[in-house]
Symmetry: C2
Subunit: 322 residues, 2 copies
Amino acid sequence: MGETSESPIVLVHRPPTLAYMDDHLSRNFRLLNAHLSPDPLPLFLSRHAASVTAFVNIGRLKIDAELLSHLPSLQLLVCTSVGTDHVDLAECKRRGIAVTNAGEAFSDDVADCAVGLLISVLRRIPAGDRYVRSGNWSKPGQFQLGIKVSGRRVGIIGLGSIGSRVAKRLEPFGCIISYNSRTQKQSIPYRYYSDVLSLAADNDVLVLCCSLTDQTMHVVNREVMESLGKEGVIINVGRGGLIDEEEMVKCLVEGVIGGAGLDVFEKEPQVPEELFVMDNVVLSPHAAVATPGALESVAEVAIANLKAFFKNQPLVSPVRLG
Amino acid sequence: MGETSESPIVLVHRPPTLAYMDDHLSRNFRLLNAHLSPDPLPLFLSRHAASVTAFVNIGRLKIDAELLSHLPSLQLLVCTSVGTDHVDLAECKRRGIAVTNAGEAFSDDVADCAVGLLISVLRRIPAGDRYVRSGNWSKPGQFQLGIKVSGRRVGIIGLGSIGSRVAKRLEPFGCIISYNSRTQKQSIPYRYYSDVLSLAADNDVLVLCCSLTDQTMHVVNREVMESLGKEGVIINVGRGGLIDEEEMVKCLVEGVIGGAGLDVFEKEPQVPEELFVMDNVVLSPHAAVATPGALESVAEVAIANLKAFFKNQPLVSPVRLG
């Protein structure tokens, strides 16, 4: 089925580089492409989108009350990320706007990347790669030893679709898994910690897989890092704001913690330059979701949500609005 | 128990940097440290080691018939590596010299590293780390997409203690595992290929975990790489000689294969410089075994073999001598 004059209208906004959903969308809907207009976004919305009911937000454009005020008919906001910290969910709830996210489309890829970052930091894979490329490898046994992965105690913050996949992947490494989340999960064999401080104290590695909310903002603060300790490693595939980044940099400089593997940062794409010279950190450009397969999956989830909406059927991946 | 005048004498040779076993050895044996003598090794052995029955070879000193000819009383050669391609095993067999290796002491660490290299190549983790450190990350979505790990078809060459651990670790990633080895393993759920060419044709990734012998030398040649194909990736945690390195470099330059994660090289520590500029390869300085835990384990295995030998008990990790 191609797009026809009968197809519903969907408002789209995306960064120039994220074109992966264009074909999927245009095959199914008539599109109002806000990102193609030279007009400022509020002006464009006021002029052209007053009657729009569905909005696909590809990327992380800030969706606040002010922007939503230009979309008086909006009933559905389709986000293409897992996290929706760029959206004013309270305002959506007040307005009765349903919000959907990427669901589990990215979960495998983000979990794969989290495990990759964990091994990379502990076994110093990028540092070894730099060492060989520098031409300095001239004698056996000179490269600094890594840390054993097998048997490591790993504490996961947020045991949702990503965190549980990280746990499952680390089990055959002989890692000892425990977790923190809002509530204890039923029929999960891993030890539960109701507070992050105790989780940090009892583990060698913390993996951040939770969403960023008012409650989880800076959930890893200096106190947690001191509790994790000087051999401790933090892996973050959630959002930059989960860690007090300024304090983390200090903790890395002072040796309060042992290392970090970071796919996300507080002020992306800005990254604290102090990290650039550290061999015990691995930096990744918010690429945990970046595989062709994942983009295909998220496009499918977005389309499925839109189709369900226009058919008055239950949404595929609704976000809980507080 | 400390070393006494009653303790057996053990000949030791090691590179300057590999001192991790000194304490273990000196607590249990009287040591004849060949590496501390200014004399050429054959001269030192002829003068001082004619009556020595046990020799610990730490590192990868070439042990050939000529060197062994200076050790007429030798009955046991203790190696600290898993692979024993630096030893003339046929000569050891002819002379009735038993050889032991590291057994399974390194297996977890090498398997951890193999999986780390696999994720690092597919998800471009060191390339992303370089990208962020270069300061070039200024816009979202610009970094080249990686390849999905989950669901990838992985062919393992050599399903011994390392290869089987790699398989076990990759299972919860949803990878589809198959393998090649000298003989089909009983009660193993993975598909068996009797030839490497078919294994390469049917897989996305090849992981080399076998020992280097006359039969496995250049087991990955140009034909195998052509069969693996342009999206195919090779991970090598075995020995450099398993791959025809010169042809591999050409295949990477020409795009015949898609990438490689290499912990070992044919002429270590020399690495072909063409690889230094490639973003689709990850280079590691023969560090797959390099964790403090692994070194501790291998020291224990070596001591256990020596003790068993001097008590006329079965060796802990004997190498099959052809």
